[in-house]
Structures are given as C-alpha cells and as structure tokens.
Symmetry: C2
Subunit: 424 residues, 2 copies
Amino acid sequence: MNNIFLKNIGLIDGSKANIRIADGKIKKIAPCGKDLTPEAGEEVVDCNRKVAVPGFINMHTHAAMTLMRGVGEDMRLEEWLDHIWAIEAKLDAPFIYWGTKVACLEMIKTGTTTFNDQYWFSPSAHLAASEMGVRDAVSYVFLDHFKPEEAQRQKEQCIQMHETVKGWDARSIFTIGIHAVYTNSEKTILWATEYARKHGLKIHIHVGESEKEDLDCKAAHGGLSPVEYLDSLGVLGPDVIAAHTLWISEKDIEILGKRHVNCVHNINSNTKLSSGYKFKWKELSDAGANVCIGTDGCASSNNLDILEAMKTTALFQKAWRKDPSEMPLPKLLEMATINGAKAFGLRTGLIKEGYDADIQIIDTDSSFFLSPAPFLANFIYSAHSDSVSSLISGGKFVMRGRNVVGEKEILKGARTVLNEIILR
Amino acid sequence: MNNIFLKNIGLIDGSKANIRIADGKIKKIAPCGKDLTPEAGEEVVDCNRKVAVPGFINMHTHAAMTLMRGVGEDMRLEEWLDHIWAIEAKLDAPFIYWGTKVACLEMIKTGTTTFNDQYWFSPSAHLAASEMGVRDAVSYVFLDHFKPEEAQRQKEQCIQMHETVKGWDARSIFTIGIHAVYTNSEKTILWATEYARKHGLKIHIHVGESEKEDLDCKAAHGGLSPVEYLDSLGVLGPDVIAAHTLWISEKDIEILGKRHVNCVHNINSNTKLSSGYKFKWKELSDAGANVCIGTDGCASSNNLDILEAMKTTALFQKAWRKDPSEMPLPKLLEMATINGAKAFGLRTGLIKEGYDADIQIIDTDSSFFLSPAPFLANFIYSAHSDSVSSLISGGKFVMRGRNVVGEKEILKGARTVLNEIILR
C-alpha cells in the first residue's frame, strides 16, 4: 500500500494542512507551509477547495435490507415486522452478500467508513464489507421467539460463527446481537450476555423503539420498562449498543447514563414508522450515556445517508424542543463519528495523528459552500452527500471522484438475488 | 429550437413511452411500440432506465438569499429577521442577479423548473432566471413598516416595476408581494390587493408563519388571527399564494378553504427556525384550499431541494400524526408539481400532451431504484436529488447529465458579490 499525501486540505475549523497517511493511519498532520512535504513514492493528492471530515460511523443498521426497500412502505413497526419476517424466512447467503455490497456502495458514496450491523448470514455480510473496504461490525443475532429448541439451535450457531470469525481481518468486529426483549426469552438474553462478556464482545440490541414495546414489557415483567428489565438482568453496561432508546422515562435515562450505555438515534426510521421523534440526546449525554447516530435498515429508513440523518435529526430537535439553537452541529458531528468510535474502543472518528485514516474528502467547490458560515453549517444544512468526492477507509481510497470500483457488477449481482428472493 | 424525442422513457405509473417535445410543449406521448417514431431533425434521447417526472414547482422562496446562508444560523424567526434586514439594507442589483443565478443553478440540479419568488430588485432576479431557462414568478414586495412615506415610495416603485415587466418573455410571471400583516399597514395591504386584482396579478404573502405573528395580530386587530384579519379586508381569494399557514385555527382552515387560497408548506424553514411543524395539509385540502410545497429562502431552510423537502414533509407528517400511512406519496407529488401550476393557472406540472415541456429525467440505474417498490417510494424516500440526470424546462435542456452550462462563471460571479456585500 502506497502512502497518501493530502496536500493543502481544509480542516473543519477552517485551517489548512498537509496530511500523510501510511499503514492505514494518519501518520502526520502539519499546517500548510510547515515542514511536511511529500516523499518519494507517495501519492500526492491536490486538495484545493477540499475539506477533510472523519468517515461517518453508522451505529445501527441492517445492511442487506437495502434490497428490501419498499416491501412494507408506510406501515407501523409491528405490522412492518410481519412483512419483513415473511421475507427473512427466505433469505440466503448470496442475498446477504449482494445486499451488503449494495449497502457498502451507498455508504461509501455518503461518507461512511464503519457500520454496526445486525443481520443474518454475517460471514457473507463481512465478506462483502471487507471486499468493499468498509469496516464492519457484524453480529450473531439472537431472536428465539421464546421457543427453547430455537434458542438451543441459535446458541450452537453463535458459537460456530464465533469460530469462523477468528480468521477475519483485524479491522472487522464481531458482536453479539440480541434482537429485543420482545423477541427473546430471558434465558437466551442471559446466555447471550454472558457469552459476550466472557469473550469481550459488544452487545447490540434494540431497546425502547416503540410505545408498544414499552407497554408490552411492563405488562410482561411486573411494570419494568425494557431498560429497567434489561438492567435487572445485568445486561446494561458500556459494552452495550442500544438502538433507538426512544420510549424512555427519566428513570430509564438515569439507568442508561449510569451504565454508560451507547444509545443510537435513528430518526428517519423512527419517524417513517411513526414510532416517535422526541429523542433525548441531551438528557442521555448529561446522564453519562454515549449518544450516536444510525440510519437503521433501508426497509424502514430508506437509505444509509448519515449526512441526511444528521440534518433530519437537527430539524426534529429544533422543532419539538421549540428552540432553534438546539442540536449544536459539533455535537451532531460527534454523534456521527467519534462517539461511535468510543463505543467500539476504536482510534478513529477524528482527523488526528495516530488515528485510523478513515477520511471523507468533501468538495467545497460548489454553491453550497459559498457562504461564510462555518463549514459544518454549510455541510450539514445545505449540502448533499454527493459533496463527498472521495473516501479513504483504513488508509485506502474506496472512492475517487465519486467512482467506486465495481459499481455496475454490484447492481447486476443485486438484481439477480432480488429476482430470486423478493420478486418470485 | 429543435424538437426533442424522448425514446423509451419510463413514466411514474411504471409504463414506458415515447415523447415528442416541440415548441416548448409536450406534443405527443405514445406507449412504446405504438406509432410514434422520430422525425428527421429531431434530437433523439435514449431514455433507457430513465423516468420522466414533472419539473418541480417551488411555490415559496427568496431566491437570492442563497447567498445569505449562514448569516443567522440557529435563531428564532424574529431574531433571524433582524439579522437579515441589516444585510438587506445593503443589497444591490448585482447581488440579486448573482444570488438568483446560484439559486437557479441549485434548482436546476434538483429538478425545479418554476419558482415563486418574493424578493428585492426583481428585474435582476428575472434576468437571471430567464438566462438560466427557469420559469420565474417574481414580485414587487410591499414592506412599509407602517411608515406612510415608505408606503408611498413603494406604491410608486411598484407601478414603475410593473411597467418594466411588460417587455419580459411570456413564460415569466409578475406578482404583488405583501410581506406580511406584521410589516405592512392596513392601507398598504388594501392598496396592493386592489392593484393586484385590477391588473390580474397574483398576491404572494406570508401568513401564519409563527405563534408570535398569530398572537401579535390578535392583539393589534381585536382578536382576529392573520387569516381572519386578511379575510376581513377582502384580501383572501384563489389569486392569493399564502406562504406557511402553519399557525392556523379550525376557523382559519375553513376560511382558507372557502376562499380557495393556495397554501404553501415550507417544512425545512419552519422546523429550522423552530416555528412549528404540525402543518394541516389534509384539513386544508379537504376544506377547499390548494396545498403546495416550497423551500423558503436558503438563509433559513438552507437549500432549494424540493425532493428533500418532500421527504422531510412526509417524515414530519408521519411523526406528529402518529400514523405511518400519512402523507400519501401521490399527494405529495401533486403538492410539488400540479398544485403549483394550478395556483398560477399554468398548463404544466403533468407529463401530458399539450402541457409545457417541464420534465425531470430521473436516472434509475442506481441502487436506489433496485427495489420493486413503486417509483415514487424509491424516488422520494431513498434517492437523492442527484438522481435528476437531465432537466427540460420550457422545451429546452437546461441540464444534461448533471452539467449546467456556465456553472463555474456563476460561482465566480457569486464570490465577487459576496465579498462586496456580506464579507466586507
């Protein structure tokens, strides 16, 4: 792998720098005109009117569902799940492989370099992500529907999949997925949690996504909310990535904060399914939780565009809190970058020496960046994700000038599996 | 002007057709394989994997404010207006010209062929739009701040500008702008309305944008809301384009319906300024109003992307009404196309024989359109506006393959006036 030298690139604070990338890392950053010059054999990239932004970290998605868009449009979560589960019964490894390839294609084009997945046939998802050069955190997902024989089968599959993982490249992450409290028996939740802790794996779970989940949990577990119930089982901790945490009480916020849970907001999914929108990012942060952003899967959200999700998040926060100063943009950027890195203990999510070279190169030579407003305001409020002109992931270009290698073949492969699974 | 022959183009309903465009109109549409073949001298455009969508009609904007992005980020309407008015005191014709050029560039790139503007130095705005090939409805704006001498000056200016308009091309529209009830004396509102009716001009006015406007109006006018007050003056009718109509009572809805007012929803602006989000599109439609979509100006919203505004509108409607079936996509498309045409009495906003050839050509050869879902779901929920590959406005290509003639010169011109007005 050749070194990359980003020459004269803008930083978010408005300054300019030269950046050396080597061995997948940001080796050196120096203000323009200071010391740092290209060395022999380095690829020098002229970054005039370009700005470096950390690659986005999509903290909750179901990548292969990118091929399941539109199978349940305009439905509430519970009805939608019935449609989804009917299709999921037919899924196979090629569907997951091509679905994840398409997802990675879209994530690359919108500036994402790491995604936290929760879906089926994870080795196929990992293979796809790995080929595309995007860092994946894939999971084994527990969803036993309260059937003991299913639980037993899943435990065995989980152990088996965990074995497979040992041959994967160092950049990928394996997590334990627990779908939700309403789809798993207490025994399975406890077993999966213990397994994760024993092996130092993160736990990825849906928590407090809808009012129905909240009410059903209280009815089933002596008045305990999903957060309270999970905490009573000892599940919650800094190794837990909790998707949604939307229907939560003040007491739930206190628990999520005290346990330093990673809470992932998915505004497009929550609003499209009419689950809700009053996400308590500030209250959760203040209490001690680590708040991140995700897109959820494309069957609900309907795309993987983190920049779009950031703008939508800001608009909903300003709207329901009735305060236009709500959702400061630097906080929003943290939620989409460094906070995801913190959840996984990764050295990425910042443009900083020693950090992984996961870098979006934003083309500011367009009308969206004419304004003297801070870069983040123009980027998040005005521009679209096609301002991401190139993307470096793990020190390698995965997109150059909007071109991703193999795009046509990916669409072709996707059409084939769509015909076999969804359309027949 | 050569005829254009769109060969084998998809329609929104999933069928395919050949389309002949001549003299600025859609001359003929025929299903593929039926009769219609290219004639000598026609430009034949192969539209494999392309879909024709009516050009969007942006029913409320302040186009030149595209150069005022970021001058008042994250503020409430009233505070924001103070910032804006301080800059507007310095504006000149070149600023409006280049600001509108930039706005047209962005509108073309996001599929808009007609925009309803309310801003200053309208002849400069019209010149810019006309050069860009986008249909403009520009206004003379009344904003007398309750000063009689200012009102007198504005009446004279209005009459003078109306004279200028007579030399403009037939596609452009001149309207009478009344900024709002809180910025104009009753006398001025009455004079402007009478002038508009005498000359058959539409009236473009802000109504019910914020709670403060509502409360202040009630305090000033014996408990009448802005809608009730305007109706008591005889202002409201089918020739009125009312931007926002967000803070409205059931009685206001009844009035707006009975008077067949054109009500324009601007979700991004309303939420970014924390003005509100519970827009009553359905109640207004049912009552008899004509509901449209706009972006508002970029200083508040912050872009002119109608497709983004459509998705955001759908998400907010699903969210606050707690019903995922809310905001049917065909209705949303009507609000962004044909309803705007109805407001102006134009034969555009549909892909239909005899209608103006204002056509977006959508490239569906991307992952966003793989799904078997209806085209509109993929287009509005999943895709971005860069799916608009080419745009025909008034029978002429104003964008081909994402290229707009003169883009670099427009950015250069814009930077010059920005330096002179905003940055100095």
